[in-house]
């Protein structure tokens, strides 16, 4: 007797599990059992599991009966003519969804040619095995699976032509590739996903070689000429938003050029770009601190005193201005209303980004790298026919990562570029490498993709033949100009008087606990003290009671709030954080005393 579980609950027993499972599957194909029900017979445990619950991953397969596909040419013709759709195939039992468990009982063929009477299913297409982004990697069956996943992941970060109506969109933080190209080596998924309407990369010439040590550790060398011809040039868009909010008491924000007597008024220079309505004009070149949208807000607290105060009409400055390190050109100004009918102003900033040292680029095979040097075209190595590579890629990135697909794409794209056609690189069904090589040879090239090259500086022929060809390269959204940061002096936190944290706040770079330990271990005690001087303060300490005294600047005299001014008061240099801790102790009812003695 075989136990039967329905949705993981024990329901009963059957005599012949195979017949039972077969009948359920049969009924499902007929449409008498819902499509999402899956059956699985576990032979070792002699148990049947019937499952129709949510949350299982299922995938479609073509049903095979007696070694023959249920999907006939008639079906295909009807599909092409759009007489039937996917749902009809499901209803007819031509295609069915299997979950991970039922797949265990299935025998799935890859291609029609390998069908035998034992097969139960066939893949719709071999790339149905892998996901959408992963199948965008050409020659994926020649690649290490983890690198394939990384390659797919990297493509999601690529800067491309994300939407053709970008000029009227107000997306936050987007990049746009100025001259995108369709890939030379594409997969069927590029076609399905209409990739060529929104491509994210460019076809470039890649040489696999070293270049004076500037491409060690996954760095790449970029040809300056290529950048000048448009490689990797992107635009960066970021909108600034201001609303006229309403407050209690009929008060509202006002988008305008702020008056000079307003609270928090910046300098006149900061408002120089604003037009009468208080909004900046398009194509204005703005930099750090410049006001884009002028705005004033009503005062924060309305006390009864203000009613009698003649100067009560003081409004606050609340303009939108560029933060530290930001710059750009005003691209687009939009004045509209928000959902509540308040005035809403959006100003889109545009910034031009040419590739620079530290920008991140990748091929489609998880071979990412940052720019190590930008070399003038005159210094780049060249082939006998005068081709200079756009990118030089280090050969050390290949052996340990085993991304053979990267190498095959190079030959494929080279063949495609020379023959003037696109190459199909779909995983499992791509054009074979042997054919590509044959074609490459017929085009007058060496069939292994190498060429004789000459040193760009000296013109000497190189001893080694260089593997060179075309490739589809992507610029990733991680750019140095968004990340570069340094600080000598700068803003501090109000509470602790220590430097702020993070690039956006122009923060300091923390010297942490373990870094501190290294100073101590070296015995560099005074250097350590200096490092931590960022919040040092001079406090007067009363020798009588040991708490912090008060310094009166007018009288140039210190006095103690408890002991008066007839006690000895000395100035002590401590960190402000410590002073703060002592204050917190006091607030807890703990009396911390500082007992002073001469340091020397």
């Amino acid at each position: 007797m075989t136990e039967v579980f329905v949705n993981s609950r024990f329901k009963g027993e059957v005599d012949d599990p195979h017949k039972f499972v077969g009948s359920i599957i049969g009924e499902r194909r007929k449409g008498n059992v819902p499509q999402n029900v899956n059956v699985y017979y576990d032979e070792t445990a002699d148990t049947v599991f019937v499952d129709g619950t949510k949350g299982r991953v299922v995938r479609p397969l073509i049903v095979v009966k007696d070694g023959k596909l249920m999907l006939t040419d008639k079906h295909v013709q009807q599909l092409v003519k759009k007489e039937i759709a996917w749902e009809d195939l499901l209803k007819q039992g031509v295609i069915e969804y299997l979950d991970a468990a039922e797949e265990e009982n299935a025998f799935v063929a890859f291609f029609e040619g390998e069908l035998t009477p034992d097969h139960t299913h066939m893949e719709i297409h071999p790339i149905a095995l892998i996901g959408l982004t992963t199948s965008l990697v050409p020659y994926g069956n020649y690649c290490h699976s983890t690198k394939l996943a990384i390659g797919g992941k990297n493509q999601k970060q690529a800067v491309g032509f994300y939407a053709s109506n970008f000029s009227v969109r107000m997306d936050m933080d987007v990049n746009l590739l100025q001259t995108p190209q369709a890939p030379l080596v594409a997969t069927i998924m590029h076609e399905i996903s209409n990739y060529n309407a929104h491509p994210a990369g460019q076809n470039i010439v890649l040489a696999v070689m070293g270049y004076m040590g500037y491409n060690i550790e996954d760095a790449i060398i970029i040809n300056k000429g290529s950048i000048e011809r448009g490689f990797g040039r992107t635009s960066y868009f970021r909108p600034a938003i201001a609303e006229e909010l309403r407050y209690a008491g009929g008060l509202t924000d006002q988008i305008c050029v702020p008056d000079k007597d307003i609270k928090g008024y910046k300098t006149e220079v900061d408002y120089r770009y604003l037009e009468e309505e208080g909004i900046i004009y398009p194509e204005a070149k703005v930099g750090e601190g410049d006001v884009i949208i002028g705005k004033t807000s009503p005062p924060r607290f309305l006390s009864s005193m203000d009613e009698y105060n003649l100067t009560s009409n003081i409004r606050r400055e609340s303009s939108v201005s560029l933060k530290h390190g930001e710059r750009g050109i005003v691209d687009f100004v939009l004045i509209t209303e928000n959902g509540e009918g308040n005035k809403l102003v959006q100003v889109r900033l545009r910034d031009h980004r040419t590739p620079e040292i530290g920008d991140k680029f990748t091929s489609r095979h998880g071979q990412k790298g940052v720019v190590g040097a930008i070399v003038p075209q005159s210094d780049m190595p060249f082939t006998a026919s005068g081709i200079t590579p756009d990118i030089i890629f280090s050969p050390h990135g290949i052996p340990s990562r085993m991304t053979i697909s990267h190498l095959i794409e190079l030959v494929g794209a080279k063949t495609g570029a020379l023959a003037g056609r696109n190459i199909d690189g779909t995983t499992f069904v791509a054009e074979s490498e042997i054919d590509l090589r044959k074609e490459l040879r017929s085009l007058g090239m060496r069939d292994n993709g190498t060429e004789t090259m000459y040193n760009g500086h000296t013109g000497k022929q190189m001893h080694a033949r260089i593997y060179i060809g075309n490739m589809y390269y992507l610029k990733l959204k991680h750019m140095v100009s968004n990340k570069i940061h340094s600080r000598a002096r700068g803003p501090i936190q109000l509470l602790t008087r220590q430097p702020t944290e993070g690039r956006a706040k122009e923060g300091g770079l923390r010297l942490g606990e373990m870094e501190k330990d290294t100073f101590v271990a070296h015995g560099a005690s005074l250097l350590l003290k200096e490092r931590f001087d960022s919040d040092k303060t001079l406090v007067p300490v009363c020798e009588g009671c040991g708490v912090i005294a008060i310094y009166n600047e007018f009288k140039n005299k210190s006095y103690c709030p408890t002991c008066g001014d007839n006690v000895e008061i000395n100035n002590v240099e401590i960190s402000y954080a410590f002073k703060l801790m002592l204050d917190e102790f006091k607030s807890l009812g703990i009396y911390p005393r500082m007992m002073l003695e001469s340091k020397y």
Partner: protein, 376 residues
């Protein structure tokens, strides 16, 4: 010559001086010997740690940095079930925390002269392994009508361990008080002298299973191993005191990896050496290379009070003189409150406190001060 050596006593450590004495060629004149001694002396002075060197932090960094590279947490002996040893970072943490109950206690038992040649080594090993009553019985049953526990002994098992069958009854009698134990060949009946509920009897039955019959208590696995010329026994489970009482065991060389046991049986100095050895074993097994002196320093810190203290907030850290230093390591509120209640004073003599106050730390360049006091 002796006079010359005598003059260096106190200048050069004793064992160093002895080394020189032993290794000096027999025919060496006094002038040359003095030259050697002077050189040894200057080398000795040279090798001393400088004043103000942060030895503790350097030790911590030296062990800590390498500690991040440790892989592999357990080691298994081939062929023996339950014989796995905690190594790597978990073991290091266990030692330095000063845990009383370590995860895999082990002993390396060296045997006395005639027994260490490998003859009857299996027999000896088995006699060391603890035998509990449950290892020697077919079944335990409770006679509910008469409130009697009946234990049916397994004769074969008893024979293989090699003990007298009547001994089992005596051992049970010893372990249980206020119970009447009778043995008839391989059946032992146990009856309570006082009237007792069935519950109690059941508890006693469970207790009986663990009654110690023979061997060294807590040693639940033995493995004879050939080391060099002789055979030793590696055990899982440790009981150093009982092992020393065993007639086969060479108590001079037998060790355990349980530091507290070493401390209890052999004293705190032995425990210090044991800490060093155990830490060194971990480091060595990971293929790392850390100077032994770092471990010696840590071991000294842990043992200096006479009992073993772990490097935790209850152990070494609680010994710190500074309130602020204690508070900056785990549980600050607890330390601040107790300092406030007791009116504790912080002399600001150590590293962390001075970093908090942004004062020069009294190590290295921050150490020197002025000899003369200056007037205000």
């Amino acid at each position: 010559m002796d006079k010359l050596f005598k003059s260096y006593e106190g200048k050069i450590p004793e064992n160093l001086l002895k080394d020189v004495k032993d290794n000096l060629p027999a025919k060496v004149d006094k002038a040359k010997a003095e030259k050697v001694l002077e050189r040894v002396y200057s080398e000795y002075i040279e090798s001393k740690v400088d004043a103000g060197e942060s030895v503790g932090l350097i030790a911590a960094e030296s062990i800590g940095e390498q500690g991040t590279q440790m892989t592999l947490n357990t080691f298994h002996y081939a062929g023996v079930a339950e014989m796995n040893v905690t190594v790597g970072l978990p073991r290091l943490i266990e030692i330095l925390d000063g845990r009383k109950n370590i995860s895999t206690p082990m002993m390396e038992i060296y045997l006395n002269k005639p027994y260490n040649k490998g003859k009857d080594i299996k027999q000896i090993a088995l006699s060391i392994k603890e035998t509990k009553l449950k290892d020697l019985t077919h079944e335990f049953s409770i006679n509910i009508a008469e409130l009697i526990i009946e234990v049916a002994l397994d004769k074969k098992a008893i024979d293989s361990v090699g003990i007298d069958i009547n001994l089992v009854g005596k051992k049970i009698e010893k372990a249980l008080k206020a119970y009447e134990v009778k043995q008839k060949d391989n059946i032992i009946t146990i009856k309570s002298i006082k009237e007792q509920p069935l519950n109690e009897l059941y508890k006693i039955k469970e207790k009986l299973k663990g009654v110690h019959i023979s061997g060294i208590k807590d040693v639940y696995q033995v493995l004879p191993v050939k080391r060099g010329e002789e055979f030793i026994i590696i055990t899982a489970g440790s009981n150093l005191k009982a092992a020393f009482d065993n007639e086969y065991v060479d108590s001079n060389r037998t060790t355990t990896n349980n530091i507290f046991e070493v401390s209890n049986v052999l004293g705190v100095e032995a425990a210090r050496q044991s800490i060093i050895d155990e830490v060194f074993k971990v480091i060595e097994s990971q293929g790392l290379n850390i100077d032994k002196r770092h471990m010696m320093l840590v071991a000294d810190m842990m043992c200096s009070s006479g009992v073993i203290k772990g490097v935790t907030r209850y152990g070494v850290v609680s010994e710190k003189a500074s309130v602020l230093a204690k508070a900056s390591f785990e549980t600050p509120i607890k330390h601040i409150i107790s300092a406030a209640l007791l009116g504790e004073e912080d002399k600001l003599n150590s590293v962390v406190e001075n970093v908090m106050l942004n004062q020069a730390v009294p190590v290295g360049t921050g150490l020197p001060g002025l000899q003369t006091k200056i007037d205000k």
